[in-house]
């Protein structure tokens, strides 16, 4: 379908963009448009104005900042995947971003856009949550840091205030001894994850010292698999890992849709967590 009418502005700076958003509560940010345009075409969204921030240089690029990597919100998935800074500093992000949709969509879709969209079926929210990333929001009042745990509020809802835009994300670099994996189960190559599991795992002397696990599409927001994280602590790599992953779906409220019922998603969360933990630990 053809989208409903809207106005379009392309501000020259983040400050101008914030101004445009603050002056019109029905205005919406346009990043790469890969989530928003399908919504507009289905007429599920009726913004008055699209504020196109996709080209703002101050929102683009990947920066190595010592103890963390900063990814500008308008950096495309393709740029994230290709970035040596991301590959070295945050391999989990590169692994997961490479699985987002397909090549053409990764050329347009942005890292910040898919986080601000806050779709729990998106791959990157669970990754940023697992890594305890910090989202940097900017408004006319200035800048504030939002921990990932406080950013995802509900289905397609973030804690960005009206007039605020996501400028970028700080992702802590995890040092030596960490392994990573993103495991996703989807119906067709480019479909949304039915369930996805992001794992960062620290090994020490043949055992798991620490596991951080983010779950995709296991509730209205991305969630941490806290029970499995606790159960995995101290577990030796081997047969006990499977048992420790059995609590992966604990405390989640997975959705029911045409792809899967909640009980199936809970089952998937266990199985995929086990696979992801094994892969992240370097086990075959």
């Amino acid at each position: 379908m053809i989208p409903a009418r809207f106005d379009y502005v392309r501000p020259g700076s983040v400050a101008e963009a914030c101004q445009a958003l603050a002056s019109d509560e029905d205005a919406k940010v346009l990043a790469g448009g890969q989530s928003l345009l399908p919504l507009l075409r289905l007429r599920l969204a009726y913004p008055s104005t699209l504020v196109d921030v996709g080209r703002l240089p101050e929102l683009k690029g990947v920066h190595d900042r010592g103890d963390h990597v900063f990814i500008g919100a308008m950096t495309t998935h393709d740029e994230v995947v290709r970035s040596p800074v991301v590959r070295d500093g945050c391999p989990l992000v590169a692994l997961a971003a490479a699985t987002v949709a397909d090549r053409a969509i990764r050329h347009r879709g942005t890292f910040g856009g898919s986080l601000a969209h806050a779709d729990p079926a998106g791959d990157l929210p669970a990754v940023v949550l697992a890594l305890d990333g910090v989202l940097v929001a900017r408004s006319e009042e200035g800048e504030r840091d939002i921990p990932a745990a406080d950013f995802f509020v509900d289905y397609l809802e973030s804690s960005l205030a009206p007039g605020e835009i996501l400028a970028g994300v700080k992702l802590p670099k995890l040092g030596a001894g960490w392994g990573f994996h993103y495991e996703k189960f989807h119906r067709t190559a480019q479909a949304w994850a039915i369930v996805g599991v992001a794992v960062a795992l620290k090994r020490s002397n043949g055992a798991i010292a620490e596991a951080r696990i983010g779950l995709t599409n296991m509730g209205p927001t991305p969630v941490r698999a806290r029970a499995a994280e606790a159960a995995l602590r101290g577990v030796e790599l081997g047969d006990q890992v499977r048992q420790a992953c059995e609590g992966a779906a604990e405390g989640t409220s997975p959705p029911s849709d045409l792809h899967a019922q909640p009980d199936y998603r809970r089952h998937l969360a266990q199985v995929l967590t086990h696979r992801a933990v094994r892969a992240a630990s370097g086990s075959p």
Binding site: I2, R5, Y8, R103, A104, H107, R108, Q190
Partner: protein, 160 residues
């Protein structure tokens, strides 16, 4: 209405466009570039794939205003002096199409894939074309065509 300038298949255009106009509709309805079809309207099928500043995009998922100042290449811009691009010829020779609806997007996506991987394996081709659907299920011949096209293009590039 915003005025945009856009180069399509080597020709510069200046157009007044409604903000809601999709790139694919600009191409087809304003510029007459009907070689790029609209397939699914849900960003799934990839039939409308074109190059935007050298990288593949689904033109149903880009607003015309977002292409302002950009360079677009469609399936119609591939051939030189009436002869087919090596990838087009490979699709023709390997019979990589039945109804042909997905073909323009397949060809564009295949050429895009070769930017990263000039000699893709079968698996790399299947993965690289995951965003393009063929409902005649002609994938076997499409894969063959992409391999042949890649070889032909390699030959063209490495020829003295």
């Amino acid at each position: 209405m915003p005025r945009i300038t856009v180069t399509v298949d080597g020709i510069a255009y200046e157009e007044d466009v409604e903000p809601r106009l999709l790139l694919v509709h600009l191409l087809r309805e304003k510029l007459g570039k009907t070689g790029t079809p609209v397939g699914c309207d849900t960003s799934n099928c990839g039939a409308c794939t074109v190059m935007l500043d050298g990288a593949s995009v689904k033109s149903c998922s880009v607003l015309a205003v977002q292409a302002d100042g950009c360079d677009v290449v469609t399936i119609e811009g591939l051939g030189v002096n009436g002869s087919m691009h090596p990838m087009q010829r490979a699709f023709h020779e390997e019979h990589a199409l039945q109804c042909g609806y997905c073909t323009p997007g397949m060809v564009m996506a295949a050429i895009d894939l070769l930017r990263d991987d000039p000699e893709p394996s079968e698996e790399a081709i299947r993965q690289g074309l995951e965003g393009n659907l063929c409902r005649c299920t002609g994938y076997c011949n499409i894969v063959k065509a992409v391999r042949r096209g890649a070889q032909e293009m390699g030959r063209t590039v490495s020829a003295p």
